[in-house]
Amino acid sequence: MKTKLFAIAAGLMTATALASVPAKADVKIGLLGGVSGPIAAMAPAMIDAAQLAVQQVNEQGGIGAGETLVGVVGDSACNPQGGTDAATKAVNIEGVVGVVGPHCSGAVLAAAGSVTIPAGIALITPSGTSPEISNLEDKGTVFRTVPSDDYQGRALARTMKDQGYGKVAVAYLNNDYGTGLANAFKSEYVDELGGEITQFAAHEEGKASYRSNLAELAKGGADTLVIFDYGDGTGLTILRQALENGFFDKFVGGDGMKSDAVINELGAENLASFVASSPVGAKSESLTMFNDAFKGVGGDPDAIFANTSYDAAFLMALAVEKAGGKKEDVAAAMMEVSNGDGEPIRPGEWKKAKELIAAGTAIDYKGAAGEHEFDAKGDVPGTYALFEVGSDGFEVVTEMQ
């Protein structure tokens, strides 16, 4: 009797398990980002922009034979541990065919190194800018739609030299992002341009006081402090304490410091001598198309990394379509859909792209943030501008070369 009951129960369970598989399988991609942690204020717009790409794909025919593309959001918390956890869940439990994100360089390096590269899954980050990502032994599976900080650090050094900055002190966050950017800046400013860096010091995040750090940095007589940190996190505390105590006259930040939190909390009137560099989408037809579409769903197209996030998700969708949904082919397909040859595809033109892929025609995605022609390391070149704080938030001072 007992055995019979067991058999029935087992049979029922198998039946429900079978019934829960839908007729048309969803195709999942992971959208990993720093939802909590130091860049939490930037993450929502980035995730929304990526979801916009997913939404456009589904409105215009979906993936393959009309399957739905699903963006599975995961929290990488902007640290290596969080990145690994979120990527493991996405790859092993959700069974994604590709990963868009994580956002922070440390999380990208950890997620790629321990999860996506061993699994052979393509990963494309919209904002992981550390030069270290270029050097990953990734078998061609790691991409980014944002230029390496090697470019940004060097461009910032050249621009500062042009703008007449003299002796500077550099404070950077002790993680992959801060270290990579600071070292690129240092090698250009000192070695190439003959500038002087009086103090060059890392700091840990999350402390309540950085006044002793600032006092050390101020030794050597620099009048400018260069901060490579996040404006929602420790960078804000450092900038506040430097302003309050008058340690420096002028402040320069990297892209992490170009956060609205800085203006909201310190007040624009106190930030007259603060400038920050940031990647900018070169003006293009593609950028306008993205801006209009993102405004249409209630997003702010000027939010930092919104356009790169959109491009990353759209490129991932194109690559998945090109690879016919086979996750081992997605990375190779990523190279093919944006290598400069073929029929141009602009943001939102999913239907056109789908038809061309089906016909076997080569396509070339021209993204909102740039053309995204990947080099052998999966990197893209970029354009930057230097921003100052005006009456309506950040305003461009000059393009950076």
Partner: protein, 290 residues
């Protein structure tokens, strides 16, 4: 280095930071002494207190200092509630179970803060406050308030513990719980009183951290280790020891930048904690050995 530079940029921030640590460490030391476990949710309870004060500031439009009593009362009530709902059921189990449970509570409190107030960095008042110059010593008003409030709150607690009937009961529970129970001390009331005091001080500590810098959902968690280092350094169960420990940890963190690279500043609390546990586990003022 000039004397005033040392005072302004190393000692003053160290003392202010130390006062904030001290407020948290007093609560930790009381819970350690009376309930006999390490309360890992202390940092996040401080975060909650700081955000409750923010809610009072934004909704009632009062000044931040006026919001402090509101935060202290509300957090004390929440601390008592957490004890009733969670820790109370674990009282008869091995203490390590409660320690682990408190880690879970820490995550829950942080999640509540993130859900209600979001994850953006916030402040009580917008803009920056430059320090005043008092005969060469540069100090901000809010830093004076922080140090004064710490001294007043801890002084009042010390008075309560030594002079009042219930304070004596708490000390008796800390010295010998069995004997205290035999002599008719109401265990439940002592536990509740402990949580009211610890929760209130916790809120004050989180409030002053937010008042001097910014409010972030992770702010309390980052303070947990220095607060534990301060409690153990001063001697577990000794209120004045926790204050001394807090000030030493705070000043040592700031001064450490003079001798070690600044990225290792955060390791200072670890170093102190390890050194004390190895060399003098009773702490500076002869507290309990755990």
């Amino acid at each position: 280095m000039e004397l005033f530079e040392l005072i302004n940029f190393y000692l003053v921030p160290g003392i202010v930071l130390g006062s904030i640590y001290a407020l948290g460490a007093v609560g930790i030391t009381l819970i350690f002494a009376i309930l006999r476990y390490a309360h890992l949710a202390h940092g996040d309870l401080a975060t909650l207190g700081a955000f409750i004060a923010l809610a009072a500031v934004t909704s009632l439009g009062v000044s931040p200092l006026a919001a402090l009593p509101v935060a202290i009362l509300a957090t004390a009530a929440i601390a008592v509630g957490i004890d009733k709902v969670f820790y109370n059921h674990l009282r008869e189990r091995p203490k390590i179970v409660t320690v682990m449970a408190s880690l879970g509570i820490a995550l829950m409190i942080r999640a509540v803060v993130q859900v209600v107030w979001g994850v953006d960095t916030q402040t009580y008042s917008r803009g920056i406050v430059r320090p005043e110059d008092y005969f060469g010593i540069r100090i901000r008003d809010r830093e004076i308030y922080t140090i004064l409030a710490m001294l007043v709150l801890v002084g009042a607690l010390q008075m309560f513990l030594t002079q009042s009937k219930w304070g004596k009961a708490m000390r008796a529970m800390s010295d010998n719980p069995n004997l205290a129970l035999l002599s008719g001390i109401d265990n439940k009331k002592v536990v509740m009183l402990t949580w009211i005091i610890a929760g209130g001080l916790c809120a004050a500590s989180g409030f002053f951290l937010g008042y001097n810098t910014e409010l972030k959902s992770m702010m309390g968690w980052h303070m947990l280790l220095p607060m534990f280092a301060a409690a153990i350094l001063g001697g577990v169960g000794r209120v004045e020891g926790a204050v001394l420990g807090g000030l030493i940890v705070g000043i040592a963190e700031e001064l450490s930048v003079l001798v070690i690279p600044s990225e290792y500043k955060a390791a200072m609390a670890f170093a102190i904690l390890l050194f004390m546990l190895l060399v003098r586990p009773t702490g500076l003022l002869k507290g309990k050995v755990l």
